[in-house]
Every structure is written in C-alpha cells, then in structure tokens.
Symmetry: C2
Subunit: 499 residues, 2 copies
C-alpha cells in the first residue's frame, strides 16, 4: 500500500540488462488481447534486443504447470490486430493461495522469468495484486503488472477509464442490433427481444442502447434498485407493445441484459428456495417421471410468495429450472432463456388485455442472444491502439522496476497521440469486501451507476425512443476511412469524460 | 416469348418525353434495395428532369391499393447505401390473377404511371413476366421490368449471375461465424452449431463455408441427393466430434442450413403423416392434457418407419411438432429448432458410444441462428454498386421501350468499370413446371448444384477443415481501404465464373 501513481514521460531509451518476462491471459476472451502481447513484445525488444517474452499457456494454469511458448516476432506478427486469445489460450484457474504463489515463484525462478504480466478482469487483477504482495513480502524478486481486460465494462473506477474489449464487443453487438432494427422497421411485423452477454453488470446493454436507440432496454441495476417484480417488467414491456401498436407500430426492439433474472429480487428468492427444496427432496423428486407432476410437487412445497412467482412462469421455464442443474444440484440461472421467458409472458399479458378489450394489436416476437459473436471479434482501431499501448506501458513499468501496478492509459476520449501512459498501484483500485467471513481487499466490480451521466442520457431519451421509431444503424466496425467513422470511442466513455 | 437479350452501349443521351415510373419491393428484405431506387431515380432524372418515380408502399399490395409515395431527391438521398426496404416497405401479396392485373392497370392509368419496376425473387419475377404479358395482350401500354433480389442466392441461371443481397448477407454471416470460430479456438471447450437463414437452398451455407472453413457444413441438397436419414446425419456429426476429440480438439463449428429438415426424406414423410394424423384425430388428441400421453398417442398411430423416426426425436422437438401448428393445423417446419435438435441427438449418440467405450472426449455445445442479422445490413460495396447499376439499367430499359425484361448486369466477377449492363427477356429465364395440375412457365429456383465448381471446391477441402483447425476469420464488411478488402465478391461467384 501507499505506492504512488506513475506517469511515463518521453525520454532517452536506456539500454537495460536482458530480461525474461512472462504473460498470461486470464478468463473470458476480449478483443485486442493479442495486441497487448504485441505492445509488450515491441517495448521489450526496444529496451534490449536480448529480452525474451514467454506466453504461458491456457491461462493461470500455465504458470502452475510451467507450460509456455516463447513469443518470437513471427508468432507475434501473425497475431497483431487479430481477435481472440488463441495465440496462447486462456483459462479460469484462480491464482489465490500461497501454495500456488510458491509454485509460480519456483517455476519462474527455474525459467529465469522475473516479471509477469497478468491480463484479466477484476478478480484476476485482485489476485495479481496478492501475488505481487507475496513476492515482495517473501523477497522473491519477481515483478507483477496487470492489464484491465473484460468486454463487460465492469472493471473501471477513478483510475481506470475502461477495460479493453468493451469498445469492440459493444460495436459488434450494435452493428447486429442496428441490422435487426432495420429489419423490424422494414418488415413491420416483429418485436425482437435481444439478450446481450454480461451477467454481472448492464454496461453492454446501456452502451448498445445509446448507440442504437431501441424501443426498450432493461438495465438490471435499475430493476434491482426499483425492486421490480417479474410481473412489473412484463407489464412494462407489454405496455410499450400496446402503446406502439396503437400508433400502428406492431414492431419493436427490446434489449435484455443476460443477468436480468438475478437482479429481480423475487426471482433471486425463488431460485434460492428451489435450490434448498431440490436438495432436501432429491430422492422423492427424482422418482417422479411426468413433467406436470414434477411441477406440481415443487409448487406445493414452495412458500406462498415464491410459489406465486413460480406458478406464473411458462412451463418450459419451470422445466429448465428443474432440469438444468449444476453438479451441486443448483439451478443454473445462466441457462434460463430470459428472452424467451419474457416473450411468452408478454404474449400472455397481452392476451389478458385483449380479453378485457384493452388491446387489439398484433404481437409476434423473435429472440436473439449475442455473446460469442463479439467476444472474439478483431479489435476496433480503438481497442487495437489501446491494447498495444497497455502492453507497451506494462513493459516500461517493468523496466522501471515497478510491481503491483496495473498498466494505465488515460485520456482515451482524446485522439491516441494525446493519451497518457502510466501505472496505477493495484491497491489504489481496491476496497475492502467481506468474503467468507473476513474483510479482504478486492477490486470492486463496477455496476451501472444510476446517478451517472451515461445512464441519465439514456433515461432522458428512452421515452421518445420507445414511442417513436428513432433507430440508429451503426453498421460494421471500419478500420479505414474517416476518423469519425473508424476511430470513435464508445458513447459511455465520451459521456463519462465530458460529464 | 422470343424477344432478344438487350445490351446497353454508351451513347448520346436523348431527351425523352416525361414519364412516371412506379417501383415495388416484393418479399423479404435484401441489402441494397434502396440503391436500386437510387439508380432508377438518377437515370430517370438524367433522361428527363420531369420524370417522376413513385414508390408503391408495402409491396405488391401498394399497387392494388394505389398507396404510394413520390420519391424525390431528399428521400432517395437519405436512403442511398442503407440497408432494409424501410423507405417504402415490402410485402408478400402475390400478384398473379387477371383480376389483380386489371386493378393494377386501372390504378396506374389513373396515376399516369406507364412503367413498373418489380424488385423481387423468383416468384415475384415470374409474376412480373405474367403482368407484362397481360399488359401486352390487352394493349394496355404499361411496361414491366424486373430486378433479381434475394439473399438466398437461389435466383440465378445462365443469364443472371447472382441476385442482389447474397453478397452482403453471406459476408455478415461469415463475419459472425469467423468471430465464433475464433472464440471456439480460444476457449477450446465448445462446439458451436450455427443455423443459417435460407429454407429452400443451401447457397448461403456453402458460401459461408468457403469463406470461413468450418469443421462441418451440411448442404441440404446433398442430404437429399444421398437420401440421408436423420440418424446418418447425427452419426456424421458425432464422428467428427469424436475424430477431433481424439486429437485433443474438444471444440468445433458446424453450419446448418435452415431448410435441412425438409430435405431429409424420412423427416418429410414423418411431417406429412403427422399432418394427416392430427387432422383426422383432432378432437381426441386435443382432449389429452399431458405431454407424455400426447406423444404416446401419436407414436402408436404412426406407421412403423415414421414411428421409429418420431420416437428417436428429443421430447422438446416432439412437443414442438405437436404444438406449433399453422392455422390449417399443419406442423410448422420452420419453427423446428434444427440446431438444438442436432445438439441433443449428437449428445445422445456420443453417450451411447461412451457406454460402449468408443468415445471418451467431451462434448459441450452452443447454438446460434443467423438470419435477421444479415438480411437488412447496409450493402457491401459490391451490392451497393450492383444494385445502383440494376436500377440505372432498369430505367434505360424502360426508356428503350422494353417490357417483360429483367435488368441485367454481368461480368460481376470483374471490377465495376468492366460490368456489362443490359436486359434479359424474363421468358428466357423460365421453364415449364407442373403446378396445380397444369404446366405453367416459372423461373426455377436454383438449388445448390452438386456438380458445380463451388460445391466441388468445398468437397475437396472439407475433410481437412474437419480434422484440422483451418478456420478463416473474414472480419466485418469494409467500405474504405484496399480493393482486395473492400471490393471482393463472393467466392461462389468467383469460382463459378472461373470454371
């Protein structure tokens, strides 16, 4: 704790002693990862042509198993500006115990690797910080530098403007949303329900809404903040369908964040109760063969409030909740097809209204889920430049003897020649959180702030976007052509930095 | 019949009498439609500034209802190079009866519209030909010119090299397939089953396979030609999964054409028998409440061969077959989620093999369906230029007094300045087909020709692409930059024109 922020200034390049640096990708793919490697490689070569870069394979487990590839210019050049992490792979092993840290130290010592660059999200950078502390306390002499990666956009704070990959992924999703909006507006007969990747925060849904102006965009954080029920949400969507239908618009587009279900308080309660119930009655429940009787078995045993929610769900979803369980027997929330759940429930609500003479429009819906389509796209110019700079900066931090820092590039709302490179002590980005009964320092996941300027901008426009048809069609990412097309940043970043 | 092919040559522009020309979009959207309008508009203006272009609204029904918009330069300019048909909308009304033709004539006479441009697929152009014949025979003096549109790529023949929209749609799908392949190759834990729009032909799947080199791509026409059973197909996919798994590749990508089910002979038979059975036993069947008993009811009454196929299907698919019926009570084949059907059946086949000790890999799958994502994309440079040329050419054909022609631009494999504009008599593109008991001339839908060069190219490479990981990641459509990036055509077109 207590180390200062570092700013890199242009200066003379000093020749340094030859070093070996290791790097890993940790967690889900994000566009631009290979450019972090390219920036690292080029900076290391510029510092001393005898420097070596090792890519540990398959994520953190590569450090534990000493599985690596030497990254030479042929390999790095072949991957510049490409998407994915396939040059060395990634993985989800968590590096967090002292035993693992000791193993990493042992492997690095043997390979003479004396600096590690960890490219990951909030958890991976938290663990990178712990690893750096361990090495410092035990006088091991290995430096650790992090890089902020995640398409979800939930690794940002006072010091980090944005994680890499968010720009590209939201542009790919916005391209597709725009294309579907154009289709909706041409065919004028479908509502499209589009689920977007990102379970823990709704930054992606918010950014895509700002880029494309859909008729509806749900923001999980708002749903939680308002303590909305599932019926509230269904009613809100059905009202929008009715309102547009009355103007002759029997079509529309609704964006749904992947994590929505887990932010609805009553659904969270239902899932918890189902987990307990299924665990306590496993044998009896498993003996029931017919789906209808399985549903009745659970419904009878749930508390009255949760039974009410459970009974309101479509049969397919009830079956999904019962069938798709993880190895611990828990309901797999991520498998719930929220977009289809909402379509069926909105359909039902509209039929109720129709019976009462309160709706006489048409409602026909299509569902989509975009995730893998954007996670490994080739990086936008922004992400390509940002990642290269993050990698280059990481090498400079290492050369300057820093450890426990995260590579930082700021001023990202300006053109790349005005960006400011430096390093932020990882501890400065952390807060104490209670985990497993004790306070531990972690990088807090940044959820959508309902008081923020990007959310306020969305709120200021959403009624207009809902009632009228103000779709924007951003088109595909461009690498060539005018700067206002090829080099624009996300609207979230622009609005945050203006406001 | 018997009119000649027309070739347009550069020449002096003669000022012509002022005319009013009408246009319609017919059927599903395809990228570039607005540029057909732009080309038409510009040519009409160049021929005589007093010419007027009327856009009939909502497709063929606009001609019947006399619903139209005058397309002026402000409206046309706002839609140049944009996707979709939202400038005037489209529709699926079929113009085919003499009563409809008479109504169109009456409406056009009143508006003084004396030429109509029909932008549509095989059926719409067939009907455009009939309309032209009707106008000729009844001496009505209204010209009709068609334009070849459909993303499916099944409107092509000796005279028409390709329909517009196929280029853009396959590029959007290939971008997404490439991104998913990169993800598959980075995460190395999923098989992705990707269904692609296009029920009647597999040109889209074939073109995307040529662009992206997936591990598997099913071609419906081959399935039908080989008389493959569903079990054959499942076995073929499961074998590929096992083969790759033995090399340590527990991941892959498989492309599935939307219409596959209807090309599997035994599935076609099952669906026909189900339709008869449900019609004959409607009351009795509807009285059964429980899904399991409904399934048993049908299974007992099917013939032994079809019952065998039915019994092999996963429960969800059986339910889909029973539940999703059209207003005539028929099974809705298009609603069947073929990609999920195949995943469940491949999973089951692999488990059988595992029990016999014949498989010990992992199989985890994700499903995708791409259709709306590409149908309304902004046109690629190729489609933008091609469509503009089709529209411009249509206006020239009208000025030259032609009727019953389809606008033709050939030499599309070369650069745009070498393209050859002209007109093909629609009758020349037609064949006699037996419909409703009599021989009628129609434009035959072009299926994938198993003797063609593009299919042969695919067959020559598919084993390699299956066994190894030879993914290609085409990236998003580019509008600026080097010609080899921004102006390339589809591989289908290139290979066809070379061969």
């Amino acid at each position: 704790y207590g180390t200062p922020i570092v700013t890199l200034e242009p200066g003379e390049r000093k020749s340094a002693r030859p070093r070996k640096v290791g790097m890993i990708f940790s967690g889900g793919q994000a566009p631009g990862g290979h450019n972090v490697a390219a920036g690292l490689f080029d900076a290391l070569q510029a510092l001393n042509p005898d420097n070596r870069l090792y890519g540990f394979l398959g994520g953190p487990s590569g450090l534990l198993d000493s599985a690596y590839k030497v990254l030479d210019s042929a390999l790095v050049d072949a991957h510049r500006n490409t998407g994915g992490f396939d040059m060395i792979g990634s993985g989800r092993t968590k590096l967090e115990s002292p035993e693992q840290f000791a193993k990493v130290a042992e492997n690095c010592k043997r390979l003479e690797v004396d600096a590690i660059v960890v490219i990951g999200g909030d958890d991976s950078n938290t663990n990178a910080c712990m690893l750096a502390e361990y090495f410092l306390q035990n006088d091991i002499g290995i430096q650790v530098v992090g890089c902020p990666k995640t398409i979800d956009g939930d690794l940002k704070n006072q010091q980090i403007q944005v994680s890499f990959g968010f720009d590209t992924a939201t542009k790919v999703y916005s391209e597709l949303i725009g294309n579907i909006q154009r289709d909706a507006n041409s065919a004028r007969k479908y509502w499209h329900f589009i689920k977007l990747m990102g379970r823990s925060a709704s930054h992606i849904a918010l950014e895509c809404a700002l880029q494309t102006h859909p008729n509806l965009a749900l923001i999980s954080e708002e749903v939680e903040g308002m303590e909305s029920t599932l019926d509230d949400i269904v009613g809100q969507i059905a009202s929008a369908v009715r309102e547009r239908s009355e103007k002759g618009f029997n079509f529309g587009v609704a964006l749904i964040p992947e994590g929505l279900i887990e932010f609805i308080p009553e659904m969270k309660a239902l899932i918890a109760e189902l987990n307990d119930l299924l665990a306590a009655n496993d044998r009896e429940f498993s003996a029931i063969a017919e789906s209808e009787r399985r549903i009745a078995f659970l419904s009878e045993r749930l508390g009255s409030a949760t039974a009410h929610v459970f009974d309101s769900l479509p049969a397919e979803i009830k079956l999904q909740l019962m069938m798709d369980r993880d190895p611990h027997g828990n309901v797999q929330v991520s498998r719930i097809e929220t977009e289809k759940l909402l379509i069926v429930m909105v359909e039902r609500k509209l039929e109720e209204w129709r019976d009462k003479g309160e709706f006489n429009g048409k409602f026909s819906a299509q569902s989509h889920f975009f995730g893998y389509e954007g996670r490994c796209a080739a990086p936008s110019n922004f992400d390509a430049d940002y990642c290269y700079s993050l990698g280059y900066t990481a090498a400079c931090l290492i050369a300057a003897g820093k450890t426990g820092y995260i590579s930082s590039v700021r001023g990202l709302e300006k053109s790349a020649d005005e960006w400011q490179a430096g390093g932020i002590p990882l501890t400065m980005t952390m807060n104490l959180e209670r985990r497993k009964g004790r306070d531990v320092p972690v990088i807090r996941k940044a959820l959508v702030d309902l008081a923020s300027a990007p959310f306020a901008t969305f709120v200021a426009h959403r009624e207009l976007w809902r009632r009228e048809t103000r779709f924007v069609y951003p088109g595909p990412i461009q690498y060539f052509g005018p700067a206002e097309v090829a080099d624009r940043t996300t609207l979230t970043l622009q609005i945050e930095q203006q406001g």
